[in-house]
Symmetry: C2
Subunit: 344 residues, 2 copies
DNA sequence: GTTAGCACTCAATAAAAGTGAGTGCTAACA
DNA sequence: TGTTAGCACTCACTTTTATTGAGTGCTAAC
């Protein structure tokens, strides 16, 4: 059986209609609503074929048809038209990015919020943590007798602070000297590179402050080691309450719970270096809990090996075209901004 | 009509039962379930009285009774028994606090999460921002040509950073000098105190760096002025999906939306200096959207004039006893920790 | 190959009947 | 005089039954 032009037109009508209404659609409705120039009986025959070919499904005997995962896949790969962002949407996204331009981590959170707002789906952002990023500047700041703060500026200009707790915290002056020493010696290192050997090498060149250097650096290394590999933020999770797919509170709750599982979200966003926008439909994500959801995701660049991901998650019956457009629209901006930041 | 002992026992039974089951309760059920030594007919008479007195309500003619706001109020003020935290709960809370002891703001977020976990209600935390807190230490850290970070340690040892964007960012060395200058002169100031006059006074004593000082301080003042008065965090909002009161997705969604409105949350937490735990029942909060919810809240101390609030919000039919116990239990710990921190 | 016609299916909706937890009132009892 | 058994009544909720309508597949004619 061959997927001729007419079958494709019918399939497209089914998918578009289902995305819009969330109701199974039948042959007569298609004949009336979409001007295909053929009768409902003919459409019926074609739909029967489409079902045999696996592109659509009948939820029960006397119902209309809905798209199958395979149907969505065809739609996303071949049928869907990307649209440009409206001027208004583009302006909104530009503003969000521009007003957070100095803090990439914060910018990503705000971006997630913006995407959730524009698409009405839930948005997930992963942000690589400092382990792999290179040190641009480190400053130790005194807090009290038992602790000080390490302020870290990475090469991608993320600013983070970590509180470090030590029994014998060096005094302000010593901390200042240590800041300088560490800065002079470890600039452009990544935290991964700071192993025991690097620590002792640095301590050797520290002269009178050797002990303090050792202690501080060990504390620093401990703090960094203890940190998770990636941070995950979500935004707009409450949007799922708007979809008839989740009109059952039990299902909605399960979904909320799933979207709080960090491990699951990490799996969901996956780990690859693709620069393209990826669409994962239904069971393709291999997560039983989310088999009725689709994910549209993309990686953004944080310099070299490091990248984070942004994903939009919604019901399978989501507006792929819109989500892809928004995501690709924003990605262009972000990558440009990040490049400008780390280049400039 | 007098609220005698028997009426109180019956009211207590009604409230306890309703808190547990969320179903209206009738005279026969009370007679069977609670061993009050009187017949259902007698209970019926008493219930009729309780309804006349406004303590209970009949949702419709042939239903049982449920507590009114006035009934809950009586319960909370006179009937409810506070319980001690179990050893396990106490240990859990202590651990949460202890492991975040160095960052009060972070600690409060984690505390909110912990309370939400223990109570299964949504938790709201407000955190006073830096405007009123006193400066313990300030450090300027270079980021790039057009920006630097201001790291701020307050007298309550909250560490925060703000990115400051300036066309002519001073170089590293100058920033270091400025840090020292500002530290020496503005320690124990609050940001509110840094007005134009203070800025120029400081600039006068800056010698060669006068222009840079002016520029940086103006930028700092701008950043601080732009900041909101309080920050609000919520945790466990998804818990509301567990209550039959919100089994309708529309209601749940409205609630989610309400709990994202910062202004509403600020109003909800109110502003007072009470050191007691406060219970706000139903319409008492004067927020139409939340008239079916109750709030249990308390203030925690962040040194002197500054305080934040923690609130637990749930359906009116919430387990007041548990929520009050958990909140008072944790408050003791927190205030002790904060006192130790700023004292030591 | 296309389509009108028809019998059939079945979820969803509506209407009808039945159930049961609840009430208020009355009259008898201690 | 307070307590209680008894009874008729109410009304949300559940179950049952009937109705509707959007959908299908198949067949025969164009």
């Amino acid at each position: 059986m061959v997927l001729n032009d007419r079958k494709i037109k019918i399939l497209e009508a089914i998918i578009n209609d289902y995305i819009e209404t969330a109701e199974p659609i039948g042959s007569r409705t298609i004949a009336k609503k979409y001007d295909l120039g053929i009768s409902s009986a003919t459409i019926r025959n074609e739909m029967s074929d489409l079902e045999d070919m696996g592109f659509i499904i009948q939820p029960h005997a006397s119902a209309g048809r809905i798209p199958s995962d395979k149907g969505y896949r065809l739609y996303v790969d071949r049928l869907m038209r990307r649209r440009e962002l409206t001027e208004e949407e583009a302006r909104f996204l530009r503003r969000v990015i521009a007003s957070n331009i100095n803090q990439i981590d914060y910018m990503m959170q705000e971006t997630a919020r913006a995407i959730a707002l524009l698409t009405n789906y839930a948005t997930i952002v992963s942000e690589p943590t400092v382990k792999k990023t290179r040190i641009r500047h480190i400053q130790f700041v005194p807090v009290d007798e038992r602790s000080f703060a390490m302020v870290l500026v990475t090469d991608s200009k993320v600013v983070k602070n970590h509180i470090i707790y030590m029994d014998n915290t060096p005094d302000e002056e010593t901390l200042q000297k240590l800041s300088k020493l560490v800065n002079d010696n470890l600039r452009d290192y990544s935290f991964e590179d700071i192993d025991a050997e690097a620590v002792s090498r640095l301590a050797a060149s520290a002269g009178e402050n050797k002990d303090a250097v050792m202690a501080v650096l060990h504390a620093v290394v401990n703090v960094i080691q203890a940190e998770d590999d990636v941070q995950i933020y979500t935004s707009g999770v409450k949007n799922i309450l708007s979809f008839p797919e989740f009109s059952d509170v039990g299902k909605a709750k399960a979904m909320f719970q799933a979207l709080e599982e960090k491990d699951m979200l990490i799996t969901l966003l996956g780990k690859n270096h693709s620069e393209k926008i990826q669409v994962v439909i239904g069971a393709e994500n291999n997560l039983a809990l989310l088999e009725d959801c689709s994910v549209i995701k993309a990686n953004y660049n944080v310099g070299g090996q490091n990248f984070g991901s942004i994903g939009v998650i919604g019901p399978k019956r989501m507006d792929y075209s819109q989500a892809v457009s928004v995501l690709s629209g924003i990605l262009k901006h972000i990558n440009a901004v990040i490049k400008a930041l780390s280049g400039g």
